[in-house]
Amino acid sequence: MTQGIGARIQRKEDARHLHGRGNFVSDMILPGQSEVAFFRSPIAHGRIRRIVKPTGTENQVFIRADLGDVAAIVAPTTVPGYKLSEWHPLAQEKVRFVGEAIAMCVAPTRAEAEDLSEQIDVEFDELPVLVDAQAARMESTVRVHEQWKDNVFLTLNYESGFEAKAKGAPVVIRREIALARQAMVPMEGKAVLAHWDDRSDQLVVYASTQVPHIIRVGLAQFLGIDQGRVRVISPDVGGGFGYKCILQPEELCVAWLALKFQRPFRYVEDRREHLVVGANSRQHQYRLTAHADERGRLLALDAEITIDGGAYSAWPFTVALEPGQATGNLPGPYDFRGYRCRTQCVATNKPGFLPYRGVARTGVCFAMELVIDAIARAVGREPWEVRHDNLVSAADMPYDNVARKHYDSGDYRKALSLAREKIGLEAWRERQRRGERDGRLIGVGFASYCEQTAHGTSVFSGWGLPIIPGYDQATVRVTPDGGLEVRAGVHSHGQGMETTLAQIAHEVMGIDIANIRVVLGDTGSTPYSTGTYASRSIVMAGGAVANACKVLIPRFLAIGAHLMQAAVATMKYENGQIIGPRKSISLRDVAEAWYLRPQELPPDVDLGGLEATVGFRPKRDTGAFSYASHAAVVAVDTKVGAVEILDYVIVEDCGTLVNPMVVEGQTLGGAAQGIGTALYEESPFDPNGQPLASTFADYLLPGPTEIPAIRIHHVETPSPYTEFGIKGMGEGGAIAPPAVIFNAVNDALRALGVELTDTPLTPRRLLEAIDRAKPSTEPRMETA
């Protein structure tokens, strides 16, 4: 079967994208459509004293009061101590970050809508700004949310065996580690187009979202209308990365316009808005103390994590997701039994934190992997070796770790050993000893992680979120000509699921994937699903597609048996053929009988016909854990502060590969984002809470020339809990790059006594660290 599971085939969706024929919200024009621009807060914190609309614009400019009964976005959890924020779709009374929407302006074109926006006058009583999470935590009087007793969204405390394991450890390593705030920068930002459809009596919302069914629930809830009167269609989406797994206030606003005026309205986020309003992820600070033995075996870990949560908690995943994931995932792929962690998520005057590809794990992996290397240096061993000894061994799988995560399968040590072999550690060590002719310093780094994917009900219900994933369903329907339609409520925004779901259907049914159509992203035509996030879709929707296909096969056999006048028990189904003892017929023959010549059907035919909607949940829903080891070699130019990646190897295991090429594409894309986190991307704010990187001139993204030719090697350990043993893998690539690059740079700079711990690794940070490490007798920072 060259098209089924494991087949390295090109993606079905590529042709339309490569020819520029995709259909994104920005491509859509409906008759009479108006464009929307938002007037956004120019200050980070203040009370709104007065909003003056331009005269004569009552039907073009709208503020919170105009929205009437539209509810504020409130995202509860059942986690004890979690504080609620009220996020009004347009600011009410107060603004809490630069870029918070205050008014929306409607005009025939976006430029004219922006002209209107310029004429709005807002008077503020400015309030002191909380920019730094540590300062906000200590702040005694200023509150991001007045009704709170402090500025802490949530504090999580976790402890397991810490004191006993830490006691008397001969090696104690302390580090402070931090990641900068970042934007996710999908190629397409937010986009929403809403109109009223009289025929279906529905509000139809085209949204660039990962989670159309969730958006439907949310829009109905916050607009206060029946869910039956809302249809959400997510058309082609140019990347999600978590930015689009929540209900956006702009979606609520534009939906309200369409509902009120019964005309089409569209809003498309621009780059500047994205970099300002979307500066919402990655910003963690760590204080770690690791206790180890003389060989570097980790015994216990003490952690304090501070997450800069920004101003608002988004619906439905809430700002509590990040601290929860950080606390639970910090121990990573390591085997140790003493852990204490206190995680605080603090409200500040910045955009509210959202889960970005990797969700907390990029941060925890960065922190943990830097500490593993620090332990290795302290005990005088190769970092890969210390890492290897600490990884959970294959013999211990499945393994319940110190944070109660259940690692289902895999050989973590093998992946690391392969990474070491593929990168060619010894040769680099030799070259490092010889030195470079151009004076640059060479370093080799490793990083390992494991990644919970497709975790379901038991995990999410533990956090008590407003939306908990359960069974995912898929509908499959044989067409009268023997083709197949597959419908699932997840969505694909770069993941290639139109191909991989077809491959799974092909695996079960043998229908040529050219004749399998996958329909996603439309609440009007797909079964409910919470959508695409948390590396879940191929496991969940893939499992559902397989189950639905399997349900149909006995029905094919029953009809086929009747058509061939043979006993059902003698039938078998293979590659689209119903094979009887004497002859065989095609699935098309069966389909024609069901749809076109029902007089030929057996009297006791299954009334479900040739379509079925069937659900799936893994045997155990605590997650199928993918894992990987990354290895990188860098050359550091200590005069200008440049870091060049000379080689990069990824050894990954995401269980059974559905399509290796898709896995590689996802992994490379993720790694590129991780390299951005490591070296380029940063959303700094000044003391007044003004964002300092609001264009691509100031917010640097890696481009093609900054991404090395990454070599990917696969290991395949099927998960015991999922259909076909598939594990999710959408996020993994973005997790390890900061860790591996910093470890490589720190390896290069070891002789200079330099250890870098803050992302991104800018030339300035690098040169300043080198300067600080110079002995005081040496002149500082002089020459080339």
Partner: protein
């Protein structure tokens, strides 16, 4: 991020362009638009009228004028990049052009536009200053002045609102001439964090080293250049470069000094290696 309202005119020749500029209050010249375009969209630039000179034939020349090459202001970076092998004595122009931003910017961005915009981190102000190039300006009174005088500071030149750059005269180097151009960018296509250009020609006596990517204009390191012209790489020691920087540029912090010193040293290494 859509431009505010503006009028647009595409004159047929330089005279019409000048007339349009003279007539309208708040008119602005549009050449390649690689800086002006984003500024318009961010509404940082709000001209009443755009005078589009990008298609003016008279500004497209690349003319051998004997001791100089005369490069039309409307010549794109890409055309200079592609002129490799055909700009005898001014090969440095091709090299500098080829490293500006990335090809899609080079396809539209022009040499005259870059000078008129005078971004301190841009490549042409630095390279043309080091080459001793001069600017031919059309306006009520045509004039010519050296690039190093034309640019007065960050985003500031002597170009008046009723003037347009017509061409740039670039002195050719002799066969014995040597040059170096080094810039450090955080990524491909970015403006430079540090940059330096060095040009030496024993026949014409040119000896110049300029430091770019500063807060203001490209800065000449005159005495260092003279020493290097006299004593070659012996005069280009780490100490000498540091000394020259300390003498000529006062407002660099330690990181900027390290980068600047590396840029100068590496530009000089190219000179000696060539």
């Amino acid at each position: 991020m859509k431009a505010a309202r503006f009028d647009y005119v595409r004159p047929g020749d330089v005279g019409e362009a000048l007339a349009a500029l003279a007539k309208a209050e708040g008119a602005k010249i549009l050449a390649g638009g690689q800086s002006l375009g984003p500024m318009l969209n961010l509404r940082l630039a709000r001209p009443a009228l755009l005078v589009d000179i990008s298609r003016l034939e008279a500004l497209q020349q690349m003319e051998d004028a004997g001791r100089t090459w005369r490069i039309g202001a409307g010549v794109t970076h890409a055309r200079l990049e592609d002129a490799r092998g055909r700009l005898s004595g001014s090969e440095m122009l091709c090299e500098v052009a080829a490293a500006i931003a990335y090809r899609s910017v080079r396809n539209r961005g022009t040499i005259g536009g870059s000078l008129a915009h005078a971004d301190p981190a841009a490549d042409w102000p630095l390279a043309l200053a080091a080459l001793g190039a001069s600017v031919n300006i059309r306006g009520p009174t045509p004039r010519n002045l050296p690039v190093a005088h034309f640019i007065q500071g960050a985003f500031t030149t002597t170009l008046a609102a009723n003037e347009v750059i017509e061409s740039i005269d670039v002195p050719k180097l002799s066969r014995a001439g040597r040059y170096g151009f080094y810039k450090f960018c955080r990524k491909t296509g970015e403006f430079a964090e540090a940059s330096a250009a060095a040009v030496f020609d024993p026949e014409s006596g040119v000896a110049s080293i300029f430091l770019g990517a500063l807060r203001g204009t490209p800065q000449p390191l005159t005495s260092l250049a003279q020493q290097v012209a006299k004593r070659g790489d012996l005069a280009a020691s780490t100490e000498a470069v540091s000394h020259a920087l300390a003498q000529s540029v006062s407002d660099l912090d330690a990181v900027e000094q390290s980068m600047a010193a590396a840029a100068v040293t590496r530009a000089l290494m190219q000179v000696f290696a060539s």
